[in-house]
């Protein structure tokens, strides 16, 4: 396909096979491309059989945490007589992450099919897809696809004539990053302020409207149909490094590469190849300075760490960072790391839900300190203060937004301390910090 980019030989198109193909968006087009075969198959399977198949595939959550999907599904109670819900997290708002957007834009029926299978696996009759409010075009496309799937009888009171009910509701967010946190998302669907909930209870016990709920990321659910049609063994075999990381992963690469975009790789592809082959490497005359591999919340990596890093859960963890959502931010030698870290901190300060003291006050204070360092008004003690605040913001709150703000600060100071020192000593000229 010509758009967004031609598929690179080192890509493994599974989810992205039909990216750029507008005809794949329609129900008929999706069926013509082999769509809804997996759902038909799933309708004939027991929930246990679906869960076992997904367990065997090794599929792990693509939203960031990497929790095994089949195991998550197996936590749902059986024969409890209560209604179950599936939530699909399409609130993709992590800075640098735009891989779910491509699924929503190009292959909405892949998601609908995955959601429907997910419903069958967890004995739910209702799936709520919570889509980021700013995703206006993806929302229109997804909603049209859901309407079509209903009209075709693929989902609804009698899904594909099976007698099983699968309802699907697309719920738009209103612009808060925090609503991508799974329990905040459930509060938002319920019409409440989108604040994360205390866990326990976990969603499988008391989730949406207090009922057993499983929440999965768009990419996770969209991967399920292929696992059913092509087999768990095939999916589990898609692994270039650690056997614990299987299948394909959409990586959205942004920043100072020649060809930013969303790439689908087999788990374990060397990060070096991803950046320098698939994305075309740095701009002419520029060198790699830093990579944030998994959305803005994970530790920053240096070129040395990137050099021999396998792009999968274990490979990146071995380098002290995380695969996260697969939103990769690549920065070259023109980047002012202090400024970039301030921008990240400012994002978290803006998006903190304000529940927990550490996050509400810590993210804003961290931002103020970084701003004053950039203005040339920093003090020698500021770096130690930032690190101590980061410690007070890590592992102490209801959700991990606070930790996410602290992470780039800690790794930034550890790996790029000279840039901070340059501002503190006056060696680097102060900058005007805009709003």
């Amino acid at each position: 396909m010509g758009y967004p980019h031609p598929i690179h030989p080192k890509e493994t198109p599974v989810l992205s096979t039909h990216f750029g193909d507008p005809d794949a968006r329609s129900h008929a087009g999706w069926v013509a491309r082999g769509g809804y075969v997996a759902l038909q198959q799933a309708l004939g399977m027991t929930p246990e059989a679906i869960v076992d198949e997904v367990k065997a595939s090794g599929l792990r959550g693509r939203g960031g945490a990497g929790f095994p999907t089949g195991m998550k599904w197996s936590f749902m109670p059986k024969d409890d007589g209560r209604e179950h819900y599936l939530c699909c997290n399409a609130d993709e708002s992590e800075p640098g992450t735009f891989k779910d957007r491509e699924i929503l834009r190009w292959t909405p029926h892949a998601l609908i099919e995955g959601c429907a299978i997910g419903c069958l696996a967890i004995r739910a009759e209702t799936c709520v897809i919570f889509i980021r409010g700013e995703y206006t075009e993806p929302y229109r496309i997804l909603q049209a696809a859901v309407d079509e799937a209903y009209a075709a009888g693929t989902i609804g009171a009698n899904a594909m004539g099976s007698g099983k009910r699968i309802e699907m509701i697309v719920h738009r967010g209103a612009g808060a990053y925090i609503c991508g946190e799974e329990t905040a998302l459930m509060n938002a669907i319920e019409g409440k302020r989108g604040n994360p909930r205390i866990k326990p209870p976990f969603p499988a016990v008391a989730g949406l409207f207090g009922l057993p709920t499983t929440i999965n990321n768009v990419e996770t659910l969209a991967a399920v149909p292929a696992i059913l049609t092509r087999g768990a063994a095939w999916y589990a075999g898609l692994s270039l490094s650690s056997p614990k990381s299987t299948g394909t992963k959409l990586i959205s690469v942004c920043g100072h590469v020649q060809r930013p975009g969303t790439y689908e790789i087999t788990m374990g592809l060397p990060m070096q190849e991803l950046i320098f082959d698939l994305c075309g490497g740095m701009r002419p005359g520029r060198t790699l300075k830093a990579v944030i591999p998994g959305g803005s919340s994970v530790p920053i990596m240096t070129p040395e760490e990137v050099a021999d890093c396998a792009t999968d859960y274990e490979g990146i963890a071995a380098k002290g960072s995380l695969l996260g959502s697969g939103g990769m931010i690549v920065m070259d030698d023109t980047t002012d790391m202090v400024y970039q870290i301030m921008r990240l901190a400012r994002f978290y300060a803006h998006e903190s839900c304000a529940q927990c003291t550490n996050c509400r006050e810590g993210t804003a204070w961290t931002t103020k300190i970084l701003e004053r360092i950039l203005r040339g008004e920093g003090k020698a003690s500021d770096l130690d203060l930032l690190l101590d605040l980061a410690d007070n913001m890590t592992g102490k709150t209801i959700c991990v937004l606070s930790d996410s703000c602290a992470t780039p600060v800690v790794s930034g100071i550890a790996k790029f301390r000279d840039e901070f020192d340059a501002y503190l000593s006056g060696a680097r000229a102060p900058m005007t910090v805009g709003v």
Binding site: A176, R193, A354, Q355, C356, D388, I398
Partner: protein, 520 residues
């Protein structure tokens, strides 16, 4: 050991508590207060302030003790280095945007932020010269101001309005460090129980307009009492400054009012400071009243009573203690006595989230004490009898003009009262008695619960408790009678209270009449 109990260790103290208890409550039982802001025992726990973090062995992270249930064999460290550092960090975060205007803040001296910072906070600031968050003061309701800058976003007020008052007009508005407590446009915090959010606020963010800049907390004397506003019998504290009552606040009693009182009760204290009190016994001679000492007053009053043979009527005000009512009836023994309490009626105002808690329609504190003691005549019937009775005793009751008129036909009128009433006819004695704020006594609430209250200020002049006055009239009537010396003796000698002392009642009270029996 019952399986319903869990044994755990908190800072080296091993104790057993019921299953399901939170660690923070278990710690309280071990004598350890884990610092906290958002947690309140009468509200759902959101675990947002992150102040009550404690270390529990074998758990990877610190946990909020307010939402962590106890578990068998749990080993909790409230004061481990990690837990203390975490709380010190939270206190620092809370302070960076707090105005530190303690010198002009009403909460100073009873502020949980002050207390815990003093206890566990940093000595100095690391915030430097950065500007603090600033927002204007908001007028939330008839008696509530929101001083936004002092707010620590604990959300107790929001949760009270949502879950307890069932009037969800407050919310958290905005995000991040711009967040503040918002109020629904077009609404006021004017729920009849809204004043509780001022008490619930751990800092000086929600303040009472009535109490604003009135007194410093450390100058107040605080005494346990019972609200006189209605038959609910909410437990309160009377706070005084130099013999002036400056505010009433709820006193926890989980059986009666949990941690709350209504705004009607809260505002009902100015009568306690009245300056126009009767300060000496006044005895009728001819058509004049003359001040006398108590010995003469008792002697003359008893003589007047002896001369007025026939039926008696006792008209009782709603704040009369059980001791006073009982001994007044005792003083009239041998006569046919009709006794009734005047009960003003009002609107009922329940607190939705607490069962059996409401501002009751019957606005008389001791109605059920009166009924228990036999003062159970209908008010109108008692007035009718009074118009031809030989003796009428008006016991600190506020009578309207028609009621005063009904006493025209009475033989003699005795007035045991806090405030004189020149309209009363046939007055032979005005005997000054103490008010609820000045005496120890017992009220019986609508559930038959006897509850004691303590004196909060000095009575004026020669005023004595009503039971003291009445029992001396009784004792003077026959040579073998000995009047009680103390309030508790006065109570114990009333058969309706089965020998209970004030001490027996404690601070939660005791059911003395089966529930329902005392109800009219």
């Amino acid at each position: 050991m019952s399986t319903d109990m869990v044994t755990l260790t908190i800072d080296g103290i091993t104790l057993s508590v019921p299953k399901g208890t939170s660690v923070i409550e278990a710690a309280k039982q071990a004598g350890i207060v884990v610092p906290h802001y958002c947690y309140h025992p009468s509200l759902p726990a959101p675990a947002v302030c992150r102040m009550c973090l404690v270390e529990i062995e074998k758990l990877p992270k610190l946990v909020p003790s307010c939402v962590t249930p106890v578990a068998e064999g749990q080993v909790v460290h409230v004061h481990s280095p990690a837990a203390k550092k975490a709380r010190e960090g939270v206190l620092e975060f809370l302070l960076i945007n707090h105005p530190l205007d303690c010198p002009i803040c009403d909460q100073a001296g009873e502020c949980e932020l002050q207390d815990f910072v003093f206890q566990e906070g940093r000595a100095g600031t690391r915030y430097g010269d950065e500007a603090k968050r600033w927002n204007p003061v908001e007028d939330f309701g008839p008696d509530i101001l929101y001083v936004t800058n002092r707010c620590i976003l604990c959300t107790r007020c929001v949760r009270f309005m949502d879950h307890v008052a069932d009037d969800p007009v407050l919310n958290v508005s905005e995000r991040g460090d711009r967040a503040y407590i918002g109020i629904d446009p077009g609404h006021r915090v004017d729920h009849p129980w809204a004043g509780n959010i001022v008490d619930l606020c751990p800092v000086g963010s929600l303040v009472s307009k009535d109490f604003l800049h009135k007194a410093r907390a450390w100058d107040l004397d605080k005494n346990a009492s019972i609200c006189t506003g209605c038959t609910q019998g909410c437990n309160i504290m009377i706070d005084t400054r130099d013999e002036n009552v400056v505010r009433l606040r709820p006193r926890p009693n989980l059986e009666v009012n949990r941690h709350f009182i209504c705004d009607v009760g809260r505002a009902d204290y100015r009568w306690m400071n009245r300056g126009d009190r009767v300060e000496a016994p006044l005895i009728g001679e001819g058509d004049r009243l003359h001040a006398q000492d108590w010995d003469v007053a008792v002697e003359r009053t008893v003589a007047a009573l002896a001369a007025a043979a026939g039926d008696a009527v006792v008209l009782i005000g709603g704040r009369a203690s059980s001791e006073t009512i009982g001994w007044t009836l005792q003083a009239l023994e041998g006569r046919t006595v009709t006794a009734a309490m005047k009960v003003p009626m009002g609107e009922e105002a329940p607190l939705a989230g607490v069962p059996n808690l409401a501002l009751r329609r019957e606005r008389a504190a001791n109605l059920h004490g009166a009924l228990l003691l036999g003062a159970d005549a209908p008010w109108e019937a008692a007035l009718t009898v009074a118009s031809r009775a030989a003796v009428v005793v008006v016991l600190d009751a506020d009578l309207d003009d028609a009621e005063v008129e009904a006493l025209r036909g009475a033989g003699i009128v005795l007035h045991l009262t806090t405030v004189a009433d020149p309209r009363l006819p046939a007055l032979r004695a005005v005997l000054p008695i103490t008010s609820v704020a000045e005496e120890q006594g017992v009220f019986v609430n609508r559930d038959g619960r006897a509850q004691r209250y303590l004196p909060a200020k000095t009575p004026p002049g020669m005023a004595r408790p009503g039971w003291w006055v009445a029992s001396r009239l009784w004792a003077a009537g026959a040579p073998d009678r000995v009047a009680p010396d103390t309030a508790t003796e006065a109570l114990q000698r009333l058969p309706a209270f089965s020998g209970l002392s004030h001490r027996d009642l404690g601070f939660v009270g005791r059911i003395v009449a089966p529930v329902g029996e005392a109800a009219r």
